[in-house]
Amino acid sequence: MSPNWEELEQTVGDDGAQSMVRPYTITRGRTAPERDDLTLITVLTLVSGAAEQPGRRLQPEHRVILARCARQPAAVAELAADLDLPVSVTKILLGDLIALGLLAARAPIAVARAGGGVDLGLLNAVREGLRRL
């Protein structure tokens, strides 16, 4: 347990100015992702058999992401936390890797069904899982 987390929560906003420049340098100046379908809990997986094209220069952060996804599929929020980069910057880097065919994205489950009502199968599965905690 980390009682100081909530205090840290308050101070982060004040530190924002310091880190404004560097993250977007990593993205070569891009401030918006080319794809808007990535969410905090979109899960990224390494594409089977995908290999980096020779001559294609990836940033070190790209390689960290690939190494992390090679170990285990990871959500956007987890990758951002691992990289210690803002979510929006992480999404730009992930977009690069998806465009290169190195990563595949799985969208979150829709809670509401298209035809109305909720997905009871999903809710029952979550309930069973929580009971095992």
Partner: protein, 188 residues
């Protein structure tokens, strides 16, 4: 490169409440990993924060949230997001609130008012939620009925009292939310 693993699908639950009320503590009590921290830049323009003329022209601010995960099975993962302490930021962070299964509002009986904004937020966004009254060390000076009145809660909103540091209470709060969704499917 190795074969890609099957990706689990994910759902999320939002953990809200006033500053210092125990959001990250609850996340940590049920998460299989130590809560992680992530940040996002949000545009400040719509927040209504005054800045001193000519001094601060920055148009973004950084907010942080802590989150944890519960693996339900090889194909399903639940992420728990402790929302930023200041609710005015949530409205700007659509990615955080869109598609959430539901929410938990943690409240402290000694300062219930600090959780009003969280309740208003979930009600206005029509996100189903439960209320967890956190009493550290078992200190609870008010009855559940009194708390309901003070928070102006709808009668069907589940309210639980316990210690968010314990895994059992964290589990019960999340279960109450899921059962609330199952029993009242019209909410979603």
């Amino acid at each position: 490169m190795t074969d890609s693993q099957a990706a689990p699908a994910a759902v999320k639950i939002l953990i809200a409440g006033g500053f210092g009320v125990g959001k990250t503590t609850l996340v940590g009590s049920v998460s299989e990993v130590t809560p992680l921290r992530t940040e996002e830049y949000l545009t400040r323009a719509s927040v209504g924060v005054d800045s001193l003329d000519g001094v601060d022209t920055k148009d973004t601010t950084t907010v942080a949230l802590d989150f944890g995960r519960i693996t339900i099975g090889p194909e399903l993962v639940v992420y728990l997001f402790g929302t930023p302490g200041q609710e005015r930021f949530w409205f700007m962070w659509n990615d955080l609130v869109n598609g959430a299964l539901g929410g938990v509002v943690i409240a402290d009986t000694r300062r219930l008012e600090s959780s009003f904004a969280s309740i208003d937020f979930f009600e206005s966004r029509r996100i189903p939620f439960v209320v967890a009254i956190n009493c550290f060390d078992g200190v609870n000076t008010r009855t559940a009925a009194e708390i309901r009145v003070a928070l102006d809660l709808d009668p069907q909103v589940p309210l639980l009292v316990g210690d968010v540091r314990t895994r059992a209470f964290g589990r019960d709060v999340l279960l109450a939310l899921v059962e609330h969704l199952i029993n009242q499917p019209a909410l979603v």
